[in-house]
Amino acid sequence: MTVQIALRHRFGDFGLDLAFDAPPGVTVLFGPSGSGKTTVVNAVAGLLRPDQGRIVADGRVLLDTAARRFVPPHCRRIGYIFQEGRLFPHLNVRQNLLYGRWFAPRAARRESVSQVVDMLGIGPLLSRRPGALSGGEKQRVAIGRALLSGPDMILADEPLAALDEARKAEILPYFERLRDAVSVPILYVSHAPAEVARLATTVVALKAGRVAAVGSAAQVLGDAMALGTPVATSVLRARVAAHHADGLSELICDAGRLWVPCVVDVPGALINLRIAAQDVILSREAPQGLSALNILSGVIADLSPYDGVSVLVTLELGDARLTARVTRRSSVAMELAPGQRCHAIIKTLTVAPQDRGTKYVPGDGS
């Protein structure tokens, strides 16, 4: 299911003017605070009627200001996880969780309540009221409420921001499963590059109400400047070759063989691997006897200053590109230059666990 979104809206000084397609899978809205992410999500949910706009989900016109068409929110069958929780204060946690279920057709009730409750760790809270919950607990209940409403599309506005790492690590695979197994399209707002790389089928980078970049996680996250964030990252696309007994999975990418901690996908699946530029070590000679299992060899395609201290070195590994960030001092000492062959050392565990993206639906637009 593809969602086509075109919006134009004005809030005082702030103007939103954008159009993009969200292909099946997870479309991450990425961008600095105040760039319009929540505004877009609200328009898709039907909570904001933009000045002008057209939103079509899988051929169904949800909004068309030109044709004066507007499908009210309760007919859109969405599960919206709000940036600020919005739990119903008069209902206890269980009633909050089940609220959307009353209205969902029986066929749409695919998630089991107990499974979602377990995943979110909110079992002991079921009979409490939202007023008696901690910030993170509220957010988890809000996630559960949206997931249990049996939605055709999920809108998640920074759902994990209030949660600790351990909890994030438990919930992220769930979104992956929704994306892959259940194939519910997801519009996901996030500031965290790790989440983006892991989940995103498509990334839409917003800046001041406009689309600054759109593409696969590989394309957008690699272009640090488009994001206005100081994180340079590469995304390699790899195919799962085999799972080994010691807990490692063997992946094949254009540049060669990679070992990562066990991924959940079946052999043959295509997955995304996010590798932060600062996690790559370069070596002129083939290194020996290191604990790092992943050593890829390639040719330096580009060398560009990144900040005062470091340079970005882009290696061509077959069709793929991998960016490394090294100090200027090393770059000089190693006499790095375009055209040179070079070895990239990537710690096996550096791509684990948050950054192993798992399979995404073939046929995406990127």
Binding site: H74, Y80, R129
Partner: protein, 236 residues
């Protein structure tokens, strides 16, 4: 003791007390749905004539009760436009009946009820209602499952205000349905009658005490219920 207590008021006065309670309860309960609807419309909808409706609702508050009673007589009396229609089509007669007393009380109490409920509705965060709509609840369901429970303390406050007002209503009632013992003689009419004769203060004050006790009991009950509801919402 019990017989003492029973004979403290005469049978006619007990009858007035019973009737007042019945009239006030009916006036409150029967007008509550319309009160909520009106309050909701005034708080949340925009429509032509909204301020007209608002003004109309407040009329009984502004007019001297006698005038309201007289207007009721003109409209709902047996020869009144609405009164005739009600009689012919539904066999409902209001004039000189306790039902008419309830109507008068309901109309006099209506502005108080609507104001209280409206204030409560305006205090509900529309973001919660929006959240419910994204979860698939239609407008009506949102109202029933989110708005209504959240305004419950306000509704209770409005209802009790209306009940108290109905218990004290006199001018419009007596002008509309007169004072027929057992039919339309409410406690205030009885008190009024007693105060009209020299030396009637003693009997009147006994009735006043009963009326106050009843209304206070209702008030305390409503406070209690409203507080429990509010505590539930705040999360114990």
């Amino acid at each position: 003791m019990p017989s003492d207590w029973m004979t403290w008021l005469g049978p006619a006065e007990w009858q007035a007390v019973r009737l007042s309670v019945r009239v006030s309860l009916w006036a409150t309960l029967a007008s509550l749905p319309l009160g909520i609807l009106t309050a909701y419309a005034l708080a949340r909808w925009n429509f032509w004539g909204k301020q007209l409706l608002n003004g109309f609702v407040h009329l009984p508050l502004i007019l001297p009760p006698v005038v309201t009673g007289y207007l009721l007589l003109l409209t709902f009396g047996r020869r009144g436009v609405v009164g005739q229609a009600l009689d012919q089509w539904f066999g409902i007669v209001l004039s000189f009946r306790w039902t008419g007393a309830a109507l008068a009380a309901a109309i006099m109490a209506f502005p108080l009820m609507v104001r209280a409920i409206r204030l409560a509705i305006e205090a509900v965060d529309p973001k919660l209602e929006a959240a419910a709509s994204t979860l698939g609840a239609s407008r009506l369901w949102v109202f029933a499952t989110i708005t209504l429970p959240l305004i419950l303390p306000g509704v209770i406050a409005g209802a009790i205000l209306a009940f108290a007002k109905a218990m004290g209503e006199f001018g419009a009632t007596i002008t509309f349905v007169s004072n027929i013992p057992g039919q339309t003689q409410t406690v205030p009419s009885a008190i009024y009658a007693l105060l009209q004769v020299p030396g009637g203060e003693g009997a009147a004050s006994r009735l006043v005490i009963v009326a106050v006790a009843l209304a206070m009991a209702a008030l305390l009950l409503s406070e209690f219920v409203a507080r429990r509801v509010a505590r539930r919402v705040a999360g114990s």
